[in-house]
Symmetry: C2
Subunit: 275 residues, 2 copies
């Protein structure tokens, strides 16, 4: 019950009629969750055997370990959903486990968050208007998936996006992970301690997500190293084109590549859903 | 009277007792400004000879041309201020011109803007809470500078930051120009047309300022090519460190550089003024 799990618990409890059982490795968090009435009760040792729907909001490796540990304990036909920010490394090892043990497993990635982590910052409104990406296995029954979709919409999610785990990981490498890498690298200029009085909105936007949880993001990045490294290297190559044009004072080239960037950005605006 | 000049005119007219004369190369804009009561009247052919304070909001090269053209027409002792986003290429050629013609010249960079340009988007509140960077020549009399500072605060500016033109250009290369280059390069991934359903706030933040006026930014970048190319190349080098750690799945290294980025970003938070 960190930021995501805690927010899920609070949203379900406040916005639906479901009974919510929570678990966290920290006794302190379990106590806080009970006290804050984020849950109706605490699961015994994290055992999910009485649950129809199990939402797991752990790091990717810990998610796989958890599901394997309780593989035979899940209710037959239960829906088990993980919320990790990366999907191949979680979904691929669990397909067989789910099939063998008679529960349904579906990957999910709530596209919501803040630059904070932990139960303290969890809020029932975290998912208001957000997109939920779902990565079910090919062949998953449509009926429970529909039910899951309605359930997430009742928590505030505005839209369900279905993708394969690989599609998810490749797109997230670009739309989210690369942004975190750039932000982290951006702030490390020798000039950054002197920014005071010289910054505008763009500097803030570029560096906002550098304030990340390095333990979680290291795992997310390593589980997606192929797609992410390709995106970083692609960006480096594109930046080199700007650097060359600027150093050589090639105004025509520079204007052309800036215009191209503007047009690509405007095309993104045209795909309405944005913002 | 584009975004900056138009907003200056509107702010001065609404928030002070000064009489505002405006000029724009386009007859259409001059007509609109008069009609919108953004100015009391239009300057004849842009001639500033009746003005105590002249605010120039043109591209850098055009600013230098304008001041040279009317060098002998400025009132003796008038304060002439340019608002271009780059200062060396404007301030350095005009120091001698100002001294020879008996007016005071001061560089200024209002740290405010939106991803739009032109009089249509100008607003009297554009500078509310913003920082104004001033780059006076060494030896400029303090009395008119104080007056200028009070004047800008009356338009809504929250803070004056004084710097040399070179200090300004180096810091702006990092805090603003580099952000525009990154944003323009970021949007050009082959994956960008497929972002729908996979984007969160960080993607929006990274690509927002790609929607720039390429003619203006080309001139600003070329006038600052030394500082800006150094900043781009510095960022490329730092990104290569992330790429290498991710490709080699070096978790210790990756975690260390992410932690370093978080700490540098938190240090920026500690310098209060931010946000």
């Amino acid at each position: 019950m960190g930021l995501i799990g805690g927010s899920m618990a609070k949203a379900i409890k406040q916005k639906t009629d479901h009974t919510v059982f929570g678990w966290d490795g920290s006794e302190n968090v379990r106590f806080s969750a009970k006290l804050a009435e984020a849950v109706h009760d605490i699961l015994e040792e994290g055992n999910p055997s009485n649950c129809d729907l199990v939402l797991i909001a752990l790091y990717p490796g810990a998610t796989v370990d958890y599901v394997k540990k309780f593989a035979s304990q899940f209710k037959k036909g239960a829906m088990v959903v993980d919320c990790a920010g990366i999907k191949r490394s979680v979904c691929q090892p669990l397909q067989e486990v789910a099939a063998q043990n008679g529960f349904i497993f579906c990957g999910a990635h709530p596209m919501a968050g803040i630059e904070r982590s932990g139960f303290t910052y969890s809020t029932p409104d975290l998912f208001e208007g957000a997109t939920m990406i779902l990565t079910p296995y090919t062949g998953t029954d449509i009926a429970p998936m529909n039910e899951l979709s309605f359930f997430f919409k009742s928590l505030g999610f505005a839209k369900m996006q279905v993708a394969t785990d690989a599609e998810h990981d490749q797109m997230i490498a670009y739309t989210s992970q690369l942004a975190h890498v750039v932000s982290s690298a951006y702030i490390k200029s020798e000039l950054s301690p002197k920014f005071k009085g010289f910054s505008a909105g763009s500097f803030h936007d570029m560096t906002r997500v550098a304030k990340l949880n390095e333990t979680m993001w290291t795992e997310l990045f390593l589980d997606n190293s192929d797609f992410l490294a390709d995106e970083i290297d692609g960006l480096i190559k594109r930046l080199q084109v700007y650097s060359k044009a600027i150093r050589e004072k090639d105004g025509d080239k520079l204007k052309a590549i800036l215009k191209e960037g503007k047009e690509k950005r405007l095309a993104v605006d045209d795909i309405k859903e944005f913002e």
